[in-house]
């Protein structure tokens, strides 16, 4: 597993990535680069919708006058922000060609490595319907091996319930960055999770990983579709109408997540598992 997942080629690429891109996810305690976390400094950065718990003083009343909606001004903040990577290790992630579990672990590892190289504090949380395994507050490149070990030993099991499980993880107070990597095949409320993370002063990144077969299902005949997590099944017979409806439902699914994220000023990245890890990383770094 180790050689497959994180071979020397992959690690070399990570090094190059760190050098070639002036990547910074957060400016840690000893870091010296500008953080992308929004704060209350004088340098204006962006707007986002008001949510319960935000500081009233930061509401932009001019914007309210124009749009009749409460927006909050965000400013560049220069301060340490720990990075939390929430990785979905439910059974549904262990599916697809290329397998979503590999793509997601490579992404998580890459992000961790970049952050460690930038002297940021990294916590990796693997979760399904419960918090399965985690490593918190890792610093320095040397800690990377711990992350690799964790990932190598990771088992894919349980059902996806990442929205609820995130809130079960005891997130330390203080501003930070939270990256959630999942296929989001869950009935839980994404908005609740975002609200929770934002309440905990986290800048949220949503990495939505799906296998190509989930984007364009190959249904050639009468099939008994068996849920890999629950073992439940549904019988379907291939027909143009079925494919058409799937595409419609899929688009709705993506749009829902995307709209929720946009509404809350959350960075949303959609990635197919066939995408090379460096591209995935660039997407996260560039925030799109």
């Amino acid at each position: 597993m180790k050689s497959q997942l994180f071979d020397s080629d992959f690690l070399k690429k990570l090094e190059q990535l760190v050098i070639s891109t002036k990547i910074s996810l957060a400016d840690g305690a000893s870091g010296n680069r500008k953080s992308r976390a929004k704060g209350s400094s004088v340098e204006f950065s962006d707007y986002r919708e008001y949510s319960i718990g935000d500081d009233f003083k930061r509401i932009d009343w001019n914007a309210y006058g124009r749009f009749e909606k409460l927006f909050i001004k965000l400013f560049m903040e220069e301060r340490e922000a720990p990075i939390h990577i929430f990785l979905d290790n439910s059974k549904s992630m262990d599916w697809g060609e290329p397998n979503k579990s590999i793509a997601s672990r490579r992404l998580a590892a890459a992000l961790s490595y970049i952050s460690l190289c930038s002297y940021d504090r990294v916590s990796l949380v693997c979760m399904n319907d419960v918090v399965d395994k985690f490593k918190s507050d890792l610093r320095g490149k040397n800690s990377f091996s711990q992350i690799l070990n964790l990932m190598d030993s990771l088992e894919y099991k349980g059902t996806t319930d990442i929205f609820n499980t995130v809130s079960k993880y005891n997130l330390k107070s203080g501003k930070g960055i939270s990256i959630v990597i999942s296929d989001f095949f869950t009935k839980g409320n994404l908005l609740d999770m975002i609200n929770y993370l934002q309440f905990k002063k986290q800048e949220v990144y949503i990495c939505h990983i799906l296998a190509p077969q989930e984007v364009e299902p190959e249904i050639g005949m009468s099939l008994r579709l068996i849920d890999i997590e629950s073992g439940e099944f549904r019988d379907v017979t291939s027909s143009p109408a079925l494919v058409k409806t799937y595409k419609k439902v899929y688009k709705r699914f993506i749009t829902n997540i995307e709209d929720t994220c946009k509404g809350r000023g959350v960075n949303y990245m959609f990635m197919e598992s066939s995408l090379p890890p460096e591209k995935m990383v660039r997407m996260v770094v560039n925030g799109s």
Binding site: T186, E214, L225, I226, D227, I228, Y246
Partner: protein, 604 residues
């Protein structure tokens, strides 16, 4: 509903087969997916869009079952309302009379009748015996007790409407006798006039649209000093008053034309005067569009009667001489018993008290008081015999005639002869046709009777001469289509032909004696040509359509000459051919298959 081929229901076994095939086919292949999260939404969406989604899963199977069911039903040949379908025998009678040529129903009434009969026969239960009867001038059994559908339909299609009147009486008696033999017979009549058959339920398919028709119903002529006067009778068998243009053609050229106003349901007489006396063919035409074209023309022949030459061979018989001289149409010559070798070229020889050893080679013969001869034998002479029987056409119009004979020879009636007068002791007179010659023999001398003293004598002689010198045609010179004509061929004729209006030549003699001629369906002028050593002799006669009985196409109108009988109430009912649902089912199958194809390709 009746099923004509119930064995087809065996095909229902295909339905469980289809279900089994579907059950086998519907085994779903297992396919593991990361999550049913999206798929459940998809299925929910599909069901929301098509509420019968659950049904849809098996829609193709249902459609196939429906198609199979329809096919089985179609093969079982279902008939709706097929009353009488169990009858083992059906008599199909078709009117082929002239009125069936009327075009007031479709192409013609006859074609409509054939088409309806075709439908009836096609819709009959397989194995049903059908007797096909055509009712025209004669009533013919075209096909008897046949269940060969193709043969019946072929016979039916070959039927043609005639130009004659229908002989309903013969039809009724024929059908009655068939019904008596097959009590369970169903009688179906296709025509425009009803038929009543006692003891049978007749289904009558009336084919009439009460079309307007105008007809030349009669044509006649008389010779006058100023030429020929022609009478044409024109009838208006319509529901409105009309002006009809009528023209007279003489020897195929227009002679005169008139417009005649005729009120509805009435008949007008049109006279044409001073027609050339040499004319031989007269034709009346009405130039008007109506439902029946055949009766818009009528023909009439004018024959210039030739005088018959008769030779009286007698010493002195003033009675016969006087009467024969008075007879119209005879040119009488007289001679004694000598020079018998020269006797030839006469139409009639009257031998009185003498018969030459060598009978003349031509002409008919009348003999009084014969002597021994080669034609017949004389038995004996009797005196004051009692007359025991009088028979034959010569005694027409003389009922109660009583006479006495003083002396007569009794004769042996030859095989070709027929006795006309019997006295106690034998035959006193006979007549017959000997070698195509008419011969009449009286055993007595007319002077030895009191016959010449009675008022009946000229009548007797006229009757005798009528028989001995017949017209070329026995019955009228004008006959109706389909009627037979008996010819009296000239004894001198060697050959005789009939030339029909269409120019066809039909030989009627030899052989002699000539049979009645019945190929008279075509209306128009016919010519009888008799060839003898003396040359050719022509005689004209015409055939007209029986317009008086056939031209009135209005049903239920009480017009003159309407010979259609009103059906007795209850004995007639409309024809029930049943409704063949097979074509409908086949259409439904096609539609179901189209739906199936659409469902399959669109995956609804």
């Amino acid at each position: 509903m009746t099923f004509y081929s119930p064995w087809a229901f065996l095909g229902l076994i295909t339905i469980p087969m289809i279900i089994i095939l579907y059950l086998l086919k519907q085994r779903h292949k297992d396919y593991t997916v990361s999550s049913l999260f999206l798929w459940e939404e998809v299925l929910k969406d599909l069901e929301a869009n098509a509420p019968w989604q659950k049904l849809k899963k098996n829609l193709l199977m249902l459609l196939q079952i429906i198609a199979a069911l329809l096919l089985v039903f179609a093969l079982a040949r279902p008939f709706l309302n097929a009353v009488g379908s169990d009858t083992p025998h059906v008599i199909v009678a078709i009117d082929t009379s002239l009125s069936m040529k009327a075009t007031d129903v479709g192409e013609s009434r006859f074609e409509e009748a054939k088409s309806r009969a075709n439908k009836l026969i096609s819709n009959l239960k397989p194995g049903t015996a059908v007797t096909l009867i055509s009712i025209g001038k004669s009533v013919n059994i075209e096909e008897n007790l046949s269940s060969d559908r193709a043969r019946l339909l072929d016979k039916l299609n070959k039927l043609k409407a005639s130009n004659s009147a229908s002989n309903t009486e013969d039809a009724e008696s024929l059908i009655s006798s068939i019904v008596k033999q097959n009590a369970e017979s169903r009688v179906v009549v296709f025509g425009d006039s009803a038929i009543n058959i006692s003891g049978a339920n007749v289904e009558f398919s009336k084919i009439s649209n009460n079309g307007d028709n105008y007809a030349v119903t009669m044509m006649s002529h008389t010779k006058t000093e100023k030429g020929i006067t022609v009478l044409s009778r024109i009838s208006n068998y319509s529901t409105k008053d009309v002006t009809i243009p009528v023209s007279l053609y003489v020897d195929k050229n227009v002679f005169d034309a008139k417009n005649v106003d005729i009120k509805k349901g009435e008949t007008a007489n049109v006279y044409w005067n001073e027609v050339l006396p040499e004319a031989s063919l007269l034709e009346t035409r009405i130039d008007i569009n109506d439902s029946l074209a055949m009766d818009n023309r009528a023909w009439n022949a004018v024959n210039n009667t030739k005088k018959n030459k008769a030779l009286l061979v007698s010493e002195s018989n003033v009675f016969v001489e006087k009467v024969a001289g008075l007879y119209n149409g005879i040119e009488l010559y007289k001679t004694g018993y000598e020079s018998s070798d020269e006797w030839k070229g006469y139409d009639l020889y009257i031998f009185d008290g003498f018969l030459p050893k060598k009978i003349p080679g031509d002409g008919n013969i009348m003999v009084f008081n014969p002597n021994e001869n080669e034609m017949f034998d004389i038995i004996e002479t009797v005196e004051y015999p009692e007359i025991t029987e009088m028979d034959g056409s010569i005694f027409r119009y003389v009922e109660g005639f009583d006479f006495s004979i003083g002396k007569t020879k009794t004769l042996k009636v030859p095989s070709w002869g027929r006795e006309i007068l019997e006295v106690n002791g034998g035959c006193a007179a006979f007549s017959g046709i000997y070698n195509n010659r008419r011969v009449m023999v009286f055993g007595f001398d007319i002077h030895n009777t009191d016959i010449p003293l009675t008022p009946a004598f000229p009548i007797l002689m006229a009757n005798s001469l009528d028989w001995l010198l017949p017209e070329s045609i026995n019955n009228a010179q004008n006959v109706y289509s389909g009627e037979g004509i008996e010819f009296n061929i000239d004894p001198k004729a060697r050959e005789a032909f009939i030339e029909t209006p269409s120019g066809e030549k039909i030989q009627i003699a030899p052989p002699f004696p000539v049979k009645a001629f019945d190929k008279t369906d075509e209306p128009g002028l016919y010519t009888l040509r008799q060839k003898s050593d003396e040359g050719e002799q022509q005689f004209y006669f015409t055939v007209n359509v029986p317009s008086q009985s056939e031209s009135n196409l209005l049903q239920g109108e009480d017009l003159e000459n309407d010979n259609t009988k009103a059906p007795e109430e209850g004995s007639q009912k409309p024809v029930n051919t049943g409704m063949n649902i097979q074509p409908l089912l086949l259409w439904l199958i096609a539609i179901v298959l189209l739906i199936e194809w659409w469902v399959y390709t669109n995956g609804v």
